[in-house]
């Protein structure tokens, strides 16, 4: 879908100041309020704006440890069944099927490094996971930074 600079500016405004109102945004951008409304409706409608919700931050409520786990799964079950089983574990934040040596890549949160061990054990206990290889995140420089890409797409 085509994005123009106005779209990007609207998203930037609502990103930088989440108390922004549609009316206020229209004033700042010097366009009609209905225009901002229409752009937002269009972008939310076709998925350019996926989620616009309060994102709980695990590190802020007792889960400061993040790790990425490469999983080799039980092929008898299939990817979907395994990802469903992993979905029942609240510590599992994210699951992808990936290329390469492993089958799945999962992002998990934990209370501590030893608690991470507990989470890994839970994953193995589902019998869906045969082998796992874990990489621990030591420092997050940034994440979820999709706005620059949107702005780059707007300029083309």
């Amino acid at each position: 879908m085509r994005i123009d600079e106005l779209d990007a500016k609207i998203v930037r405004l609502f990103t930088e100041e989440q108390r922004m109102s549609v009316l206020e945004a229209s004033r700042l951008l010097k366009v009609a309020r209905a225009t901002v409304q229409a752009r937002l409706d269009r972008m939310t409608g076709n998925g350019v704006i996926g989620r616009w919700v309060p994102q709980p931050e695990p590190r802020a409520f007792g889960f400061p440890v993040v790790a990425f786990c490469f999983l080799t799964i039980n092929q008898d079950l299939g990817h979907d069944a395994v990802s469903k089983a992993l979905g029942d574990i609240p510590e599992v934040i994210e699951v992808h099927t990936v290329s390469g040596d492993s089958d799945l890549l999962a992002r998990v949160a934990a209370r501590s490094n030893s608690d991470l061990q507990r989470v890994l054990d839970i994953m193995m206990a589902t019998r869906a996971v045969v082998r796992s290889s874990t990489v621990i995140v030591l420092n997050t420089h940034f994440e979820g930074r999709t706005l620059p890409l949107l702005e780059a797409a707007a300029r083309t």
Copy 2:
């Protein structure tokens, strides 16, 4: 920070229906409006609710390919300088310092598999990255799913 069930219910309401108003939420939960306001202020204040912004979805505006890149960096520069250099590339969505064989883990978006090659070349061209090993995401089962963890934390 301590989270209780009311906190989790509030976040769930605003997550499932993003047009939810504070007033409507207070009616549904049968608590005073001021209580919902106070809980939201508290959670946004101490970071439990990190971002509450429109999240652009790269796949919806021309970047359907996602990959995770393990990077070995030029040690002379240091992690921060390298992550800053990577931050200038809009296709780089996320950067972590990680344990294990590699130094950094980056999530990148691209227009296609061959476009991914272009992005990798840009990263290498910064001279900050010495070696890279890439895993392509074939299918995303879920991501950003932190609400179940918040609810689990609320029950303890």
